[in-house]
């Protein structure tokens, strides 16, 4: 039985740290607070938001380290989503949840590819997406992805025409269980194969007749520089 050990909140061994904080609750209490807040929310909660809701002087990041460890291997786990945190059921127990399963919207092949291109190449302009896929991107595809809150507008590219770029959202990361865009599957291989570099076509290559103004793909993947 491990329960007795679990039950007492780990407030020992943190006293040195606490003394330096102004009247902050013991770390064990802070962990409980983070636990309660994350349990209560369907959306990921940032460290800042946690601390805004916790008493003054709390260290939510520290509490999260403890909490994350506590839930390792459990039926629910503490996951990082971008720079926020959430509690999610363990993926191996998904089969128990048929009742909770939400009907997934069927995405077209074009939408899936466009999403992948945005995720792996972000920030990426529409012209660049079209150049990669070799066809023009329909308005509806982009709209659908924006509506699902998986992509959003990024900063404009500092090139002639200042085209808008697209990036993926924290909601995208949450949906696919990714801590950050760096954790995209196969990212390393794609990068080492040079497939994420932008290579301007030599001379006149046929492409989708993109009537867009934006034709100078460069300097993307700044998100992926480590």
């Amino acid at each position: 039985m491990t329960d007795d050990v679990i039950r007492d909140t780990p407030s020992e061994g943190l006293n040195a740290r606490e003394e330096s904080l102004f009247e902050a609750p013991p770390m064990g209490e802070q962990e409980r607070m983070v636990e309660a807040i994350l349990f209560a929310s369907t959306e990921a909660v940032s460290v800042k938001e946690l601390e805004d809701r916790m008493p003054h002087g709390c260290d939510a990041a520290e509490a999260l380290v403890h909490l994350r460890k506590r839930y390792e291997g459990r039926g629910v786990t503490v996951v990082k989503v971008g720079d926020a945190w959430a509690i999610r059921t363990a993926p191996d127990l998904g089969y128990l949840m048929q009742k909770e399963t939400v009907e997934q919207r069927k995405l077209s092949r074009a939408a899936i590819e466009t999403l992948a291109i945005i995720a792996y190449h972000q920030p990426v302009t529409r012209a660049e997406i079209e150049e990669i896929r070799g066809v023009s991107v329909s308005r509806g595809t982009i709209d659908q992805l924006i509506e699902m809150e998986w992509i959003r507008f990024g900063r404009r590219r500092m090139t002639p025409g200042r085209p808008v770029t697209f990036v993926v959202t924290p909601g995208f990361l949450d949906h696919f269980g990714l801590e950050s865009a760096r954790d995209l599957p196969g990212l390393k291989e794609l990068r080492s194969a040079g497939l994420l570099e932008s290579r301007p076509p030599p001379g006149a290559m046929p492409g989708p007749n993109s009537d867009d103004e934006d034709e100078s793909p460069e300097g993307q993947s700044e998100l992926f520089e480590d």
């Binding site: 369907t42 363990a90 998904g94 590819e113 599957p185």
Partner: protein
């Protein structure tokens, strides 16, 4: 070169031929020429990095030729790609012309190979992405989220200036006289009119307007002013109705009135 030659040369198996026909039947299903090229490249059964762009160009051109033969209308970009691949093919086959500007056939071919590899890379990545555990399918968020209730606490503030101004406002207010219309110092035009109508019948010739001021209104300047104004307005009214005439010798000289005689 005819398409039959092309296919004979390739010595296609029945299954390959069927696949090629299926391609044409499915042409609507392709997402552009690059997609078609990628599908065609699979028949080479090699790593995309080792693909023969020349061979691919030949395959593509054969495809377009065949589509034309079957009277299938291809979208413009398929034809643009065909023209470009024909150009590429000629560049790749002919020895390089040093006088010619622009990228070499090899450079163009390399870029096309890169594009195909990249597209394939993105397709694989997309498949891997979609194969991941997904929220709401494989893992789940809290079923009963507790809404964060927003409590709005209002604090009120005031400055010393507010306080002093507030006090000043009260103190200033009691220095005002409560406002009541001071009726006894005002004569209305109606009052004057009534009075003048009565008096004018007794007046003979031109009489100064000032002499019509009622008793007790001549001394107090405020009352005098009001009565004068009312009487003047009344005489104008009566003149308008043709009940009296008025005259003034000069600017600022006294105004005189008299009853208008009916007989002229």
């Amino acid at each position: 070169m005819s398409e039959t030659e092309e296919f004979q040369e390739d010595a296609m198996s029945v299954s390959e031929r069927l696949a090629a026909e299926a391609l044409i039947v499915d042409v609507e299903g392709f997402e552009g020429p690059l997609d078609l090229l990628l599908t065609l490249s699979r028949t080479q059964k090699v790593d995309l990095r080792k693909i023969s762009v020349l061979e691919l160009s030949v395959q593509y051109l054969a495809f377009v030729e065949r589509a034309r033969h079957l009277r299938i209308e291809l979208a413009a970009d398929y034809l643009v790609m065909a023209a470009w691949l024909a150009f590429l093919k000629s560049r790749l086959l002919l020895p390089p012309d040093p006088t010619e500007e622009g990228p070499s056939g090899e450079e163009l071919a390399a870029h096309l190979a890169f594009q195909l590899e990249r597209l394939q890379g993105m397709r694989d990545a997309a498949a891997k992405l979609m194969a991941r555990d997904q929220l709401g399918r494989d893992f789940f968020a809290r079923g009963v989220p507790e809404d964060v209730t927003r409590v709005r606490r209002v604090t009120y503030t005031a400055t010393l200036l507010d306080l002093m101004q507030g006090y000043a406002r009260i103190r200033t207010k009691d220095e005002f006289r409560p406002f009541v219309m001071d009726r006894d110092a005002v004569m209305t035009m109606e009052q004057a009119l009534d009075r003048m109508r009565g008096l004018i019948n007794y007046a003979g010739d031109w009489t100064e307007l000032t002499s019509y001021l009622p008793e007790g209104w001549e001394v107090d300047p405020a009352k005098r002013r009001s009565a004068m104004a009312a009487n003047f307005a009344a005489t104008l009214e009566m003149a308008k109705r043709g009940e009296l005439e008025l005259r003034q010798g000069d600017t600022f000289s006294p105004i005189q009135i008299r009853r208008k005689s009916n007989d002229g």
